[in-house]
């Protein structure tokens, strides 16, 4: 009993400080748990992405935050592994008590975190994964995506490729789900647009392990007039140089996904294959006022120009902030309602997070590769609004599993 009495002040102190903590809660920052591949080969994407994200957070906090609270982003490196990403998501949710999850770049990691978010009933705003599945086939109430899905890029390419003079196509792609989807959708859409469309064959290879010489040999044997390229990263670089050296690109017309994004285009340098039609990011040429402002501020702050990742990181934070403001709370159920159909401003215009399928209407660029001062750039580009190139909200909604729209 005596011991209890001596302990009493300690209990009182603990209770008191807990109460004080509760009172301080209103001023606590909103915590966003951000998972991405910050080390290893994908770091080239995630550093500009993180910069863009931080820029948006700083701007919002300078204005006083959202719903009276500052934003705080807690970054975690997923080590390029879906298994690690799930572990870190768990750490962020249970240990860091984040209000929502965000981020991811690779599709498998995005899907893994999405599955976790669904199981644990946490909101997850997927930033960069391209897979169609994340908002549609495997969509859920808890998952929203900012970047355009692969099928939108496919439709943009098809619109251009259908105007090519050639009709006999072949494809070169690393073996993965997103690129398999791209090829399948491309074939289906092209067949509808061009009666004379012929598919000569696929050349596939393990990701990051292309043997460019053998690949071009094999493609040549299919005798295509035009080629759909879905290689990226180191594979694209080796393919572009070997193809130029072997005179392959003089014989075919090329349509290529992603290659116009500075992340993939810049390392090509003088090897930039001129004339390819690509989806990408015309960062240097797109002089719309808001975008120019974003580019200038970003460049001044980070001493380098923005990459596509910077734009997406920036837009992701805007989407989250707008969703929380609309919800007036970070409570998961309210936040889902807040994010559904929320409109937010980005450097490339106003974007809607569609209520029906949790897909944002962020647009993209399509254009032709050219060389300027030894660097690859996009020319003849057009900006395509998401509303014009995405499947409609009704179509998207129909693809989602039962319960994803409750």
């Amino acid at each position: 009993m005596k011991r209890f009495r001596t302990m009493l002040p300690i209990f009182a102190a603990i209770t008191g400080s807990l109460l004080a903590l509760g009172a301080a809660h209103a001023q606590e920052p909103i915590r966003i748990g951000e998972i991405n591949s910050y080390t290893g080969p994908a770091a080239v994407f995630t550093m500009p992405y993180r910069n863009g994200m931080q820029m948006a957070v700083d701007e919002i906090n300078a204005r006083g935050g959202v719903i009276g609270r500052k934003l705080e982003v807690i970054y975690r490196d997923d080590n390029f592994s879906p298994a690690d990403a799930v572990r870190l998501a768990n750490e962020l949710v249970l240990n860091q008590k984040v209000d929502l999850l965000a981020g991811t770049f690779l599709s498998p990691i995005g899907l893994a975190v999405a599955n976790y978010a669904q199981e644990k009933k946490v909101v997850f705003v997927a930033a960069e994964p391209l897979t169609n599945q994340i908002t549609w086939g495997k969509g859920s109430r808890y998952v929203f995506r900012v970047r355009n899905p692969m099928i939108m890029l496919t439709s943009m390419l098809v619109a251009k490729a259908a105007t090519f003079s050639c009709s006999r196509w072949a494809g070169i792609a690393p073996i993965n789900e997103a690129m398999a989807d791209l090829t399948a959708d491309f074939k289906a859409q092209m067949a509808k647009k061009r009666k004379d469309f012929v598919w000569a064959g696929d050349l596939t290879f393990p990701n990051q392990k292309i043997n460019a010489g053998s690949a071009i040999d094999s493609l040549t044997r299919m005798k295509p007039e035009c080629v759909l390229n879905s290689t990226y990263g180191p594979d694209l670089i080796a393919f572009a140089r070997e193809g130029t050296t072997r005179g392959f690109f003089q014989k075919v017309q090329m349509a290529s996904v992603l290659s116009g994004e500075p992340e993939y285009l810049d390392p090509l340098g003088e090897d930039t294959p001129v004339g390819w039609w690509v989806t990408g990011y015309a960062w240097s040429d797109d002089n719309r006022a808001e975008h120019k402002k974003f580019r200038d501020e970003y460049t001044a702050h980070f001493k380098t120009y923005p990459r596509l990742g910077s734009l997406i990181g920036y837009a992701t934070i805007q989407a989250i902030a707008a969703g929380i403001t609309r919800a007036g709370s970070t409570d998961t159920e309210k936040l889902i309602k807040g994010l559904r159909g929320v409109q937010f401003d980005t450097p490339v215009g106003r974007v809607t997070m569609r209520a029906g399928d949790h897909q944002s209407t962020l647009g993209s660029w399509i254009g032709q590769l050219a060389l300027k001062d030894g660097k690859g750039v996009m020319t003849n580009w057009t900006w395509v609004d998401g509303n014009d190139a995405l499947p409609t909200e009704q179509e998207g909604r129909a693809l989602r599993p039962a319960g994803a729209n409750d």
Binding site: G40, V44, N95, I175, T245
Partner: protein
């Protein structure tokens, strides 16, 4: 269907692939031949070569001479890096047990990767085309890049030079002598120290040269190290350890197979190399041209002072520990409970691996295969047949155990590095199948949404389930180690011939131990699946094998509690570093190197000393 020109073209493409692969592998091979170290960091030197070549070429005016200068400068620079590594780390490694050598070189691998990221940034860097060699030449009507002919030529020149050095110079003769019998060379008064340093520098220069030669063909990127080292290991094994000619022919074989499979069976390109490697190991373990150099790899090291703990916990101690473990869910926050479950599972894998590697003397590089089969079996059963958790947890060890039994039939005939390489090949084959057979396994997307049955969905229930299985499994293995079977296993490890002479069927004992270890790793894999709710190919990759290897052996080969201590420390260290430190690879790598160099008996002696002091015993 194929005319002569096309066949020639396919062969030439294969030869190009093989050219730099040969130069890299030859370096790995000679270091192995002389020092018996499987240098896991050799691919990192190749990667450094590519980056340094890029920087050097850009610092020089653009001409064909610059390319030659840059290539030579790179080879010398990487040679210098090799010198530093040899003098500071490798020199101390030659006398430590083999498993620690491997752990230390893995530490170097981690450090180099982060250093490259810090120095050159994450973007791929592509050296410019070589002036004068930018175009293509016409070979039987097909355009063939002129530079590729340089690569083919360089490989042949290196082959001739290395042959000359090894056959005609005094240094080469000493090297060959050291390859055959290190101790005899030392007894004859040759200063081994500088011989070894020389070999290591030569090997580093070869890696750097290969990186520099590849720089105008492949962009320098951060994944180069791991890609090349796995293939180089395969080439060295196929060609025969320490044989330069064997290395050349093996890389040619791998190159041509890769070129052919790119065209005909792209789904198999990853697995094919390892299938060939496994076949060679089964049919002719010493490779095409290797002499059976395995003997010195198997020296058992310091004689074992029994596997008994001097400071093992008493029975009462274990009971108290278990009781404490039972109380933990009441006090631990949810996240730490999850971490604890994961640590328990890792302890279990580490222990099953230790059982095979310690008392069994079988150092596998591919335990991830069985762990991964344990993850994937229930996942696939659920995916296709809708089975529940209990069925899954029964099926996981059965499938993994059967796979291990099948592999053991081939593996126990081999020992030392050959055994390790066969297990690596098997693990890589399983990994490639899971990774590339999209229709069956969903490939890199993995199989998602597998959670425990409702009765075990409460984390505390799942914790007790894991605790029960893990504790029972480890207790059973400890019991086996102390049983007659355990003693005969150790007898077979320490002296196969003597054990055979006393009537022990060593191969059968090893087979059983291997299968048992595989089975229990599979059970642990099953638990991991239901903890995480998903199956990914990364559970099967070489990184996982390495994690298991480190956890099991960090604690020390002689300690029954080593795997437990190792799993806890490794997991906690990795979790904390990965969560809070940006360049965590450097710290992890340094820690691994220091542990290997300065604590050759692992971490457990520290703890033994601590508990000995507590109980007042001084040993």
């Amino acid at each position: 269907m194929f005319d002569a020109a096309e066949i020639v073209n396919i062969l030439l493409n294969g030869w190009v692939i093989s050219a730099t692969l040969f130069i890299v592998s030859s370096g790995l091979s000679i270091v192995f031949g002389v020092s018996r170290i499987s240098n896991f960091a050799h691919g990192s030197l190749y990667m450094l070569g590519a980056y340094i070549a890029y920087s050097t070429v850009h610092a020089l005016p653009r001409s064909g001479y610059s390319f030659i200068v840059a290539t030579l400068v790179t080879a010398l620079a990487v040679g210098l890096v090799g010198l530093l590594i040899e003098v500071s780390i490798f020199r101390r490694l030659y006398r430590v047990p083999h498993h620690l050598q491997l752990i230390a070189t893995f530490g170097i691998f981690l450090i180099v990767r982060d250093v490259a990221l810090i120095t050159w940034g994450p973007q791929e860097l592509f050296s410019p085309r070589v002036p004068g060699l930018a175009g293509a030449v016409d070979i039987l009507g097909q355009a063939f890049p002129a530079y590729n002919l340089v690569l083919i030529g360089a490989a042949v020149v290196i082959l001739i030079v290395l042959q000359w050095v090894f056959q005609r110079t005094r240094w080469g003769v000493l090297l060959r002598a050291a390859t055959q019998d290190r101790d005899m060379v030392a007894a004859l008064g040759v200063d081994q120290k500088w011989l070894f340093t020389g070999v290591f520098v030569l090997s580093a220069m070869l890696a750097g040269l290969a990186g520099a030669l590849d720089a105008p063909r492949l962009p320098a990127s951060l994944g180069m190290d791991i890609n090349v080292i796995i293939e180089a290991f395969a080439v060295v094994v196929i060609g025969g350890m320490g044989s330069i000619v064997g290395c050349f022919l093996a890389s040619l074989l791998v190159g041509i197979l890769t070129a052919v499979s790119t065209i005909f069976i792209p789904q198999l390109t990853l697995a094919l190399v390892f299938v060939v490697m496994a076949l060679v190991l089964v049919v002719r373990p010493q490779g095409f041209f290797g002499k059976n150099a395995g003997a010195s790899w198997e020296d058992p090291g310091e004689p074992e002072h029994g596997t008994h703990e001097r400071a093992d916990l008493s029975r009462r101690g274990w009971v108290i520990l278990l009781a404490l473990a039972c109380l933990l869910p009441a006090v631990l926050p949810a996240y730490w409970l999850d971490t604890l479950i994961e640590t328990l599972i890792l302890m279990f894998v580490a222990w099953s691996f230790y059982f095979m590697a310690g008392p069994g003397g079988m150092m596998s590089f591919g335990q991830a295969a069985f762990f991964g089969i344990g993850v994937y079996t229930p996942a696939l059963l659920h995916h296709y047949y809708g089975t529940h958790m209990i069925t899954g947890l029964v099926a996981a060890p059965i499938a993994a155990g059967l796979a291990a039994l099948a592999v053991s039939w081939f593996a126990v005939r081999l020992s030392g590095i050959y055994f390790a390489m066969l297990t690596l090949a098997f693990a890589q084959i399983v990994w490639s199948v899971v990774f590339q057979w999209f229709d069956l396994t969903n490939g890199e997307l993995g199989i998602l949404n597998l959670w425990p049955d409702p009765w075990a969905s409460d984390r505390r229930v799942f914790y007790f389930l894991t605790l029960t299985i893990t504790a029972a499994g480890i207790a059973a293995l400890r019991h086996v180690v102390a049983s007659p079977f355990g003693y005969s296993l150790r007898a077979g490890r320490d002296s196969e011939r003597r054990a055979e002479a006393t009537g022990i069927n060593v191969r059968r004992q090893k087979s059983i131990a291997f299968a048992l270890a595989g089975m229990l790793s599979g059970l642990a894999g099953g638990l991991m699946l239901y903890l995480k709710g998903s199956a990914f190919p990364s559970y099967l990759d070489i990184g996982t094998s390495f994690d298991v290897f480190v956890m099991a052996l960090l604690g020390g080969l002689q300690s029954l509690n080593g795997p437990i201590i190792g799993a806890v420390i490794y997991r906690v260290l990795k979790t904390l570093l990965q969560t809070y430190v940006e360049h965590w690879n450097i710290i992890m790598g340094t820690a691994l190197i220091l542990l290997s160099l300065f604590m050759p008996r692992g971490l457990s002696p520290l703890i033994e000393r601590f508990s000995a002091r507590r109980s007042g015993k001084l040993t």
